[in-house]
Symmetry: C2
Subunit: 360 residues, 2 copies
């Protein structure tokens, strides 16, 4: 019998079970949520915090919010953003008030992007890209950190409710710049509750979990403020094309950004690490190893929406019917279609930017 | 021959020469400044940083600024504030653009004063008190931290230009709340230069010097911003009535706040530590020791404006002609007059508050 897809079976990434234990996360259970999306169904979203309060809010049609940030550096985003936006879209469609903050202060401070330039980039690229990836612009509230004094107010207040030891335990260091940013992020995470107290969920990669932990700790200590502790969902990384844990711009040959020219992406895909055997002969005999294959992981995370279609690729590979060369060509085609559509949608979204709701 | 007043001769306070060395301060030289005020002439202002750029600005009639903050907790201020305001007044009269910030964010975060309440207190008491102490309200710009996003912008930028080690060397610890505040203070100190680059001077007590050091270090690293490093002047503390280094509300019997009921203050003054001898007999023979006397220090710092008059008190005391009982009565009278005048001026200043220039 051919093994069915086991989302935990991927050997491309570090042991996510260990991460759950080490960080004190909850394992994500797609059954808690109605009509789970691709990332939820397939365990790409693998963990979270305080998920029940969000599941309950959806079930009981109570108010809640979803929030994420845009760091307006460069003119590309990556697959990590795509997953976050898809999570935002899921919660938005299930009743969440939706907030996108532009971390222009952070971009200016940490990356030396001039504030005006950061704002321009956010409006001309990042926000349209987020819309292109599925956010409903009519139901989304945007703000710039540099224009939101309320965020600074919460940050200032939060800063007095934590100790050096606690901070070190969460972040591993006490760099002053890191500390300052962290409190601004606490301000961002809680900001929607200044308008109205309600649960909120923040979709993150695991590297962002410390901000969630810090905010949750601080909320407990700001009892009199009656903030709800933020929930989170945590997605796995999209692996680097050479099979490493995470795509990174530091290895451009192994990284795909969004959007990119399909031809150039395809060249890189053709060199990606797969679960193929040493010879065609052998692969036909033993079958491929999709659980070790970056191409398969990209299908699973991003390019194949239909579960049955994904299962078929898996089965054909395992059975030795689908060889890596052919598979990569298929992947190129899907990727090209995705990039073309994305580029088209970004251009379309750019025209909507002046109709957006900016909180000032 | 009777010794003339030696500003460095006070034995009431710790060794200020050592402070200068330890902190890497410049010794203050009143000759650098035209018409030095009482605090400057008498060495109450005993140190500073980068004084030449301010002396030059005054001399050459170039733009510069003077800035201080109000922490709007309680409904009293203390003699430390009085000295800072007198320094502000000096520089204001010598051409400085004058800024007073209300640290309402800090008051809310650190002292649990509600933001609205902090604002109310600043407007109803602290700002009028500062005006009563000599600031020209027509020439002073005020702002609230909670309304000044530019301060947060500088703070955020500054936070990326310092390390944990540096911070620890300056502040002695790495408490996250302290770190957050410190960057806000850097933002405050540099804020006037966002409007226009120019030198500035911050009058401080020695306990505030770390903020000046941090800001000066950060300015060096933000070369491209072309900020002028802030100058400072540092005043000695007003000693506690029992002779300790500094008046503190933790010892209410040894502390005088502003304004207070003259009768109640007088009672405390009568119990103050003086430089008197064990017996009247002895004092008439040996003379008193004004350099050990809190009453004399209060005259010198606050109550006797005229140098000759102060010298006469000193001489009479040294000569055994002025006994402590009589002297304390004189001090009570001067203090009562000062408190009554101050209260009157505060009430008067309250009526001007709605005409002030608030930056928003």
């Amino acid at each position: 019998m051919i093994k069915t897809i086991d989302p935990w079976g991927s050997e491309l990434v570090e042991d996510y079970e260990k991460i759950i234990k080490d960080f004190g996360l909850e394992q994500f259970d797609a059954k808690m949520f109605p009509n789970p999306n691709r990332l939820m169904r397939r365990g790409i979203i693998f963990a979270g915090r305080d998920l029940k309060q969000i599941a309950d809010a959806i079930k009981n049609k109570k108010k809640f919010y979803v929030l994420t940030g845009i760091m307006p550096t460069g003119n590309k985003i990556h697959f990590g953003h795509k997953m976050v936006v898809e999570s935002m879209k899921y919660f938005q469609e299930h009743g969440a008030e939706t907030f996108i903050l532009v971390a222009d202060l952070e971009a200016a401070a940490a990356r030396g992007v001039d504030l005006e330039e950061a704002k321009r980039r956010a409006i001309n690229f990042h926000i349209p890209a987020f819309i292109a990836l599925g956010l409903d612009p009519k139901k989304t509230k945007f703000y710039f950190q540099s224009e939101n004094m309320d965020v600074a107010k919460i940050a200032s207040r939060a800063s007095k409710r934590t100790t050096a030891n606690e901070f070190k335990a969460i972040y591993g260091n006490l760099e002053p710049g890191r500390i300052y940013s962290a409190f601004t992020q606490v301000g961002d995470i809680l900001y929607p509750q200044l308008r109205e107290r309600m649960p909120g969920i923040i979709p993150v990669g695991i590297d962002q979990d410390p901000h969630i932990r810090l905010t949750r700790d601080i909320v407990k200590r700001l009892k009199e403020d009656k903030f709800f502790a933020p929930s989170s969902i945590v997605n796995k990384f999209t692996p680097s094309l050479d099979g490493d844990l995470k795509m990174s711009k530091s290895k451009p040959e192994s990284c795909i950004e969004l959007p990119e020219d399909p031809k150039s992406v395809c060249k890189r895909l053709m060199r990606a690490k797969t679960g193929g055997r040493d010879t065609l002969e052998e692969q036909k005999k033993l079958g491929g190893q999709p659980e070790k294959c970056v191409i398969f992981e990209i299908y699973k995370q991003h390019l194949i929406e239909d579960d049955k279609e994904l299962q078929k690729v898996y089965n054909d590979c395992k059975a030795g019917k689908l060889m890596c060369g052919e598979d990569k060509k298929n992947c190129c085609e899907l990727m090209a279609r995705f990039m073309e559509e994305l580029t088209f949608k970004i251009e379309k979204a750019k025209k909507q930017v002046d109709k957006l709701e900016f909180i000032r």
